[in-house]
């Protein structure tokens, strides 16, 4: 049985106007699971930042944290199935969870590639959310060959601080320089540093290739920073970002923009077809967005890490909602950036 830790206030949209399943039908598309190559774990809602676009509503005041027994069960799942190749750890700021390092080491021991969704400024937080020592993060990442997926909305201070808070840009650049100093982002080092861009407002991202070229040029010229790839993500019209859209009276405009940009090719490559997403309490979802909206994966009943079975999980029907237009607009959007 899962212990209910949810403190989210889901903001889904069930209106007929933005019926994602109907749009799939109009395009003759049926989107079903194909694999579980990635196990994504959202281990904490706690974060040292409170970004305007955050779909998790992460902030310093959130206290939900994954329990040890859920972590242990996830490690069992990873260890028991070679078809799951990647552990993708997110939050909140996952590094602030006191068991973050143990989780990484356990997954590495099982031969899995580990990816950490890293907000950069957490590098300078020297304690976990329960006050334990939390130093030497760069060295820890490097030692375990963790692929670092770092959030940096823009190479300009203006955009980054507007979205993530005053002073975040300068600290982010300092963190990137530390990562570079350890070998991250340099060709041939084997230490992968990817950046995540998302728009600092109510608009869609430019093409990933053009943004990556801009970031590469500007970060090198201005700050001597290098990285491997840039992922361009669309802001999801849920939770905190949805609240912003509603307050500015632009929610429906934004939704129409996403719906009008529906791309059938992107729909066929949505990330929920090849991953599972685990919440703090052990519930399983098709993606992190469904997780914060409380749209749990379902077979004959709700799926949790305790009743998870790889082959049975592929038999489920993916749970879709209006927010799915965010993953299928334009070039598509996923935790790994554009999908087309």
């Amino acid at each position: 049985m899962v212990k209910d830790l949810r403190r989210d206030s889901p903001t889904g949209d069930n209106s007929a106007e933005f019926d994602f399943t109907a749009t799939l039908g109009q395009h003759g598309l049926e989107i079903n699971p194909v694999s579980v190559s990635t196990l994504q774990m959202n281990i904490t809602r706690h974060c040292n930042q409170a970004c305007t676009h955050c779909h998790v509503d992460g902030s310093p005041t959130r206290t939900e944290r994954m329990e040890q027994q859920v972590i242990e069960r996830c490690l069992e799942i990873l260890n028991g199935d070679t078809r799951i190749k990647i552990l993708d750890i997110t939050g909140g700021a996952p590094e602030l969870h006191p068991e973050f390092r143990g989780l990484v080491e356990g997954a590495v021991k099982s031969g899995k590639k580990v990816m950490a969704r890293h907000n950069l400024t957490v590098m300078f937080e020297d304690k976990t959310d329960i006050g334990e020592k939390n130093e030497g993060l760069v060295e820890f990442f490097a030692r375990n060959h963790v692929e670092v997926i770092a959030s940096l909305p823009h190479y300009q201070e203006f955009f980054t601080d507007r979205q993530r808070g005053a002073g975040v840009f300068k600290k982010s650049i300092a963190a990137l320089q530390l990562l570079n100093g350890a070998g991250y982002g340099h060709d041939g080092s084997g230490l992968v540093l990817n950046l995540v861009y998302n728009p600092a407002g109510f608009f869609l991202p430019a093409s990933q290739a053009s943004l990556e070229a801009d970031f590469r040029r500007e970060l090198l010229n201005r700050h001597g920073v290098v990285f491997n790839h840039l992922f361009a993500l669309t802001n999801m019209p849920i939770n905190r970002f949805k609240g912003q859209l509603e307050r500015s009276g632009t929610y429906r405009d934004y939704m129409h923009k996403l719906k009008d940009a529906f791309n059938p090719a992107a729909a066929q490559n949505v990330m929920c077809r090849s991953q599972m997403s685990v919440d703090c309490d052990g519930r399983v979802y098709d993606c992190d967005f469904n997780q914060v909206l409380g749209l749990q994966s379902n077979l004959s009943g709700p799926v949790t890490v305790y009743n998870f079975n790889y082959d049975e999980f592929l038999e489920r029907r993916i749970v879709f909602g209006a927010h799915c237009f965010g993953c299928t607009a334009g070039s598509g959007s996923s935790c790994g950036g554009a999908t087309t």
Binding site: H154, F159, S210
Partner: protein, 110 residues
């Protein structure tokens, strides 16, 4: 109530309610000119569009091309520079008329 309502931009296509053939030709030309990569990138075209929107003082166009610039990856410095180009060329267009004034003065024996 003002003459310019941002919502009205969505009704631009109503211009095709009559003589749809002409509207279709216009929108096809407009899309090909502003929204496809060519010798200029989409971002460069968006910045030109933003400058022209200001020069023509068209609020609909300013709304549309501000979004278009952001979605093409332009940053605030590039967009502001584009508006300064429009402003400077507009000022130059007035100032260069001073040459006509100088001609008129000469014709008046000044």
């Amino acid at each position: 109530m003002s003459y310019y309502e941002p919502e009205d931009l969505k009704r631009f296509s109503e211009i095709g309610d009559f003589r749809k053939d002409l509207a279709d030709k216009f929108f096809s030309y407009y899309g090909a000119s502003t929204s496809t990569e060519g010798a200029l990138t989409i971002r460069e075209k968006a910045l030109i569009g933003l400058a022209v929107a200001h020069a023509k003082e068209c609020p609909y166009c300013i709304d549309a091309f501000t979004t278009k610039c952001l979605e093409a990856g332009a940053d605030p410095e590039q967009m502001t520079e584009a508006v300064h180009v429009a402003s400077a060329v507009g000022a130059a267009a007035i100032l260069v008329m001073g040459v006509q004034m100088r001609n008129a003065m000469k014709r008046s024996g000044v």
